[in-house]
Structures are given as C-alpha cells and as structure tokens.
Subunit: 166 residues, 3 copies
C-alpha cells in the first residue's frame, strides 16, 4: 500500500556509522545491566532500549529540574547525551548502527516544575541527533512530557524504539 | 490458540469512517511535522502516533493543570480533542480510518498537581471516542498518569498505537 | 544474526507457572474491563497490558507519594504488587504464564515530589519478580520516572509488554 504521509522504513538509505564519524561523536561503552533489567530487548524487528539518562564518563551532565537548576539550553544538551547513550545501546544490540532500519519512537521525560512548558524544545536535542545520524530513517514518533522527578535527579530520561533491518 | 479474554483484531468489524460521520465529527488536517519528529511512524502493522495535545483550529482548548485551572469536565473534553487529533494523524497515515484493524494502546498524560487522582476519568474522554468510532476494535490497553507539566501548558497529552489491516 | 548483547527470546527456557508456585504467589483474578479500555491487547506476538496499580483484595496497598506518605520500602512492595496484577492479566490473556516467551518492557511511574530520585529502586520490586518468575526470559527493557500523581492516589503504576510464544 502506498502511504505518502506515513514514513516507511528505508533500508539502505543511511550510512549511520559514517555520519557518526562525520559528526565527531564517539559512542561510549553501552551501560551494563543493573538489577533485573537490561539495556535493550529485541522482539521480532523491534529493539526496545531502556530509559537513558545523560550520563557521560560516569556522571550526569547536570542534575535538577529543567527551568530551575538546569537551563533549557543545558536540558537540550542533556537530551542529546541521552540519545548518544541510546545509540550506544542499540549499536551494542545490533553490532552496528547501520543495522538500524529506522527510529520508531522516542519517549521523552523532562524533570520540571509546573509552569515549564518547553518539553518539546528540550526533546529536540535527542530528535535532532537521530536525524543527523540516520537521515530520513531517523524521523520518529515522539511523546515529550514533564516528570516530577527522575532517577539520580537527572534532568531528562529518554527511552527508544528502533526497527532493525532483516 | 483461542484466547477468550484477550481481544484480538477483528478485521472488518468496523466501519469507522461511517461512525465518524454519524458522530458529527469532522477531522482536522493532520498536524505537519515540526522539528525532527513526525506525526506517525509505521513499522510492520503497527502505527505509532506522536503525543497529541488538545489543539483545535490552531489553539489549545484549555491551558493549565486539571484540577486547578482546568476542571475535570474540561479535562475530559481535552482528552477527546487529543483523540480527534490522533484519528486525524492515523487517517493521514493509512488513507482511511477503515484501514485500522484495532486500537492497541493509549498513553495518557494528565497535567496535574499532587492530590489529583482522576486521571482515569480524564482519559475516558479519549477512550470513549475510540470505542464510539471503532466499536469493539476500539477497545485498547491504556496507561493514565499525572505529569508535572506538558508542552505549551496543555492539560492533556496522549500518544496512540494502532494496528493496521494488511 | 548473533547478537550476544541483545537478549533474544528463549522459548521453553522457563516454567513460569512452577516458579510462581515455588514463590508462594497466588495470582488474583484479572481485573475486569472498566470503561472503554481493556486489561490487555494482543497484536501479533505482542501483548500490551494496561497500567496496573497496587490493588490487593480490592484495595490499594498504600496511598500517597513515595518519599512522603509512602516509604521507599513500601514503594518496592507496591511495585511488586503491580507486577503480580500484571501477571494475572497476561495469564488471563494467554491461558498460562508458560505461554510467555519473554518480558519485553516495563513502563514504571512512581508518584513522588521533586527531590525523590529513587524511582529505579522502587521499580526493582517489579523487575525482580519478572526475573524470579521467568528467569532469563524475565529480563526486560525499562523506563522508570516520577509522576506528579497517579489514579486513586496509587504510589506506583506499571504497564507491561510481553512477547507470546507462537
């Protein structure tokens, strides 16, 4: 069926690993499982990546609520770091980012107080990276909402759903 | 396997477009992509619809937290508007609501302060519309939770997962 | 494709119903549908279970926000009860827990005020039960976040995604 307004998988349309190099991004080691959950689970072609917080070299980029202790600009940087960590996890699961057929969904949680309405702006820090790395295959569905608090006091947490190539 | 208590897809059981007309609902134009995300993504038979807020003719039906600036009744109306917008998106993706095999899941976020416990009542504004439009195929799994704040100060945000017919 | 770091389905690896007996857990009757949503929906091999709150014999184990009215320890117990209820739903859908191929994802919402960062500790109450009941097939992806409030004043709400065996 032709669905001009629904973006379908475009296998082969990306060279994500090359783009990552061009962007000057070195992915960290994927986080190791803690407790009774794991960084990712694959079922069929779908790869579910657990909620990522903006850890970089063992510590959070920032701590607190966006709009209070953390500026919106720093919130954007945190969302981008969550996305870098999510890419590290899916690469670990699939062996290469070039095995990703497309990014399906991002679930973005922004720690904030009532009155802070810029969850979409913050989430764009992750969404833009998906586009930069995967091109058209990086365009995804998204929900961005405010959370009263997040693990370790992280300003942002993001979970990811990817579709793998055959 | 027969699973009497799990509702399976019932292709052909609905004439959703006809029901929509009978309900007197005219769907708006589907929202256009903003930034690096898109209104919906299809993977296999699953169509993920991005989080919808209660925009109607270019502005929010209400702004604020349900139980504070927004009454629960108005929250229900906001949830229904989110659902109307979600239907507009999935119709745009599939060409017709009659191409929906079933509604799978709604993720409902209600902006509220601590002490407001009526997220399910608010969410029913969307759930009921799914039932009205799709009949049995509209019965879905759901999570309804409180958010500290939502984009643009929306009282409700809802994301949708649909199963498409072959 | 061999994916050593992505856990794949391991059909037959568990005898979940036996483990449940060994754990001394008797599952309650699955909750009946209320309003226009249902306890679970199956699409293909995926079973989506609606958000569960810690109801036990008709009432909540606790009420309030974790870190305030509810201690973290009691929050863990609430998460475990949500998981018991989720198991009751998926058993009702599939006929037996032994029909579960694996646990795919948990979405964990913890009612809390700003400043409470222990969502992962609370969520482990559910994650650990999945591991205890399903063994390796119980290891799942997870997002754990803070919510401003939850239905009925529940301290925890958890939704589940399972993969069914063929």
């Amino acid at each position: 069926m032709t669905t001009p307004n629904a973006i379908q998988s475009q296998p082969g349309a990306t060279a994500a690993e090359e783009r990552l190099v061009a962007l000057g991004i070195t992915l960290p080691a994927a986080p190791k499982p803690v407790a009774a959950y794991v960084p990712s689970v694959r079922t069929g072609k779908l790869v579910y990546v657990s909620g990522q917080i903006p850890m970089s070299e063992g510590k959070l980029l920032d701590q607190g609520r966006v709009g209070n202790e953390v500026s919106p600009e720093d919130g954007v940087a945190c969302a981008r770091q969550c996305a870098i960590n999510g890419l590290a996890v899916v690469r670990d699961a699939l062996g290469s980012l070039d095995r990703v057929a497309r990014v399906v969904r991002l679930g973005v949680f922004v720690a904030c107080d009532p009155g802070f309405h810029e969850q979409p702006r913050v989430a764009n820090g992750a969404s833009q990276l998906m586009l930069d790395v995967f091109g058209e295959a990086g365009r995804h569905a998204r929900a961005a909402v405010g959370a009263s608090d997040l693990p370790l006091g992280a300003p942002v947490e993001i979970e990811f759903l990817f579709e793998a190539k055959d």
